[in-house]
C-alpha cells in the first residue's frame, strides 16, 4: 500500500506550501502512475486527521495512458493499462498517464 506513504508526503507538501484551512485538494493521477485513486481517497482521510486539511474534499483528475508506438510510429490513448499498440506491438514509449501531481488547493480566505 504505497498510497499511504505517497498520501502522507502529498499532505505534508501541501501543509508546507499553503497557509490556512484547506477546503479542496485537486490531484492529477494518471492511470499508468501505479496509484489506485480509491486507496488515495482512503489514505487521504486518515492522513489529514488533525491537520488543516481535515475534512477537505479530494478531487482526482484521471488521465488515461498515452503511448507512442515505436513500430508503427503512431501515438494513441490506451483503453486500459496494458502497454500495447493497436498494431500488436508492445515496443512503445509512454508519453502520458504517469502523472502524479497536486494540481491546486482551495483554501479559506
Amino acid at each position: 500500500m504505497h498510497e499511504l506513504s505517497i498520501t502522507e508526503s502529498l499532505v505534508s507538501a501541501i501543509l508546507e506550501r499553503v497557509e490556512g484551512r484547506v477546503q479542496t485538494v485537486t490531484l492529477v493521477i494518471g492511470r499508468l502512475s501505479g496509484l489506485v485513486p480509491d486507496s488515495v481517497r482512503f489514505c487521504f482521510d486518515v492522513c489529514t486527521q488533525g491537520t488543516r486539511l481535515e475534512g477537505a474534499a479530494l478531487d482526482i483528475i484521471d488521465i488515461p495512458g498515452r503511448v507512442r508506438c515505436l513500430t508503427c510510429d503512431v501515438e494513441l490513448e490506451l483503453p486500459d493499462t496494458i502497454l500495447l499498440c493497436t498494431c500488436g506491438s508492445a515496443n512503445v514509449d509512454i508519453v502520458g498517464g504517469q502523472e502524479l501531481r497536486i494540481k491546486n488547493v482551495e483554501v479559506m480566505v
Binding site: H2, L4, S9, D59, L83, N91, R101
Partner: protein
C-alpha cells in the same frame, strides 16, 4: 488491512467519505468533474466562507526523486555499483545474496542493505556470510524509499569501488514506484510462481533492467513455462535482460556473476 478497509466503509456512506461535521458547506463531492478555476469564488451561495485557489502543480514523487538523485551522485562519486533487488516474498532474494556473497567475496567488495517490515532475520543470514550488512525495518511501510536508503548508507558506510545490494521489501507492487538512486533494478521471480506474473505486475517488470528467474532446480515439479514467462516479460518490457538461475543448486550463476562483473567495471 481488511479491518482498515471496513473502517473506510463506515464513514463512506456519505458521498465522499469525509466526516460530516467539517465546518463548512462547500459543495464538493468526490468524483465531480466541474473545474474549480473559473471564477468559483464569484458564487456567494456555493462558497461560504470565501476561498482562494492556490495553484501548486507539485509532483508528489519529486521529493523522493530528488533524494534518489542525491544517492545516485553519492554512489557515482565513489564508484559504487548499487543494485535494487525486488521480488515477491519468497522468490529467493536472500538465498541468492548468500550464494553470491560466498562465491564472489574473494574478488569483489560486497555489502547489503536489507529491507523488511520487521525482524533482523535476513540481516543475520547475510551477516553469517561475513558480509557487511544493515537492516532497515519499514514497519507498516511496504517499500524502501530514497530517504531510508540514504540513512541506511550512512550506517553501512560502504567502501569505494564496491557493490551495494539493496534487498527491497518483498512486494511486486510498491517498490517499482520508488527510485532509490540505484544503477539497476533487478526483479527476481521464481518458477514456483505463475509464469504470467509479468502481465499481472506490469509496473515492476517495466521498471526492471533485469529479470532473474530463480529456482530452476524446481522446474521438474511445477507447471511453469520458462519461455512463456520470458515472452510475457518482453511484452511488458522489450529491453529487459533475462537470466535463469538456481541460487541453491548453482545453475547458470556464472551468467549472473558475469553480468555483475561487467556492471562493476562500468561503475568504477
Amino acid at each position: 488491512m481488511v479491518t482498515d478497509l471496513g473502517g473506510a466503509q463506515e464513514h463512506g456512506d456519505s458521498d465522499h467519505g469525509h466526516p460530516p461535521d467539517h465546518g463548512n458547506d462547500h459543495p464538493h463531492s468526490h468524483g465531480h468533474d466541474h473545474p474549480h478555476d473559473d471564477g468559483a469564488a464569484a458564487d456567494p451561495v456555493r462558497h461560504v466562507p470565501d476561498t482562494r485557489l492556490v495553484e501548486l502543480e507539485y509532483d508528489v514523487l519529486a521529493k523522493n526523486d530528488l533524494l534518489a538523485a542525491r544517492n545516485r551522485v553519492w554512489f557515482e562519486d565513489r564508484g559504487i555499483l548499487a543494485l535494487n533487488l525486488m521480488s515477491s516474498p519468497g522468490a529467493g532474494k536472500t538465498s541468492l545474496l548468500e550464494r553470491t556473497i560466498r562465491d564472489l567475496s574473494p574478488e569483489l567488495m560486497l555489502s547489503v542493505i536489507e529491507g523488511d517490515q520487521e525482524t533482523l532475520l535476513d540481516a543475520e543470514r547475510i551477516r553469517a556470510t561475513g558480509c557487511r550488512v544493515v537492516q532497515i525495518n519499514t514497519g507498516s511501510g511496504c517499500h524502501l524509499d530514497a530517504d531510508m536508503l540514504a540513512r541506511g548508507l550512512r550506517s553501512l558506510d560502504p567502501p569505494s569501488q564496491s557493490v551495494v545490494f539493496i534487498e527491497n521489501v518483498g512486494n511486486l507492487v510498491c517498490p517499482a514506484l520508488f527510485d532509490l538512486g540505484e544503477r539497476s533494478k533487478v526483479v527476481i521471480m521464481s518458477v514456483t510462481e505463475g509464469d504470467d506474473k509479468p502481465l499481472k505486475y506490469p509496473h515492476m517488470f517495466r521498471a526492471a533492467d533485469v529479470l532473474l528467474l530463480n529456482k530452476l532446480d524446481l522446474l521438474p515439479y511445477v507447471n511453469f513455462d520458462v519461455e512463456r514467462c520470458i515472452g510475457y516479460a518482453r511484452q511488458i518490457n522489450p529491453g529487459i535482460e533475462v537470466l535463469t538461475v538456481s541460487a541453491t543448486r548453482g545453475d547458470d550463476l556464472d551468467r549472473w556473476y558475469d553480468w555483475l562483473r561487467h556492471r562493476v567495471t562500468a561503475a568504477a
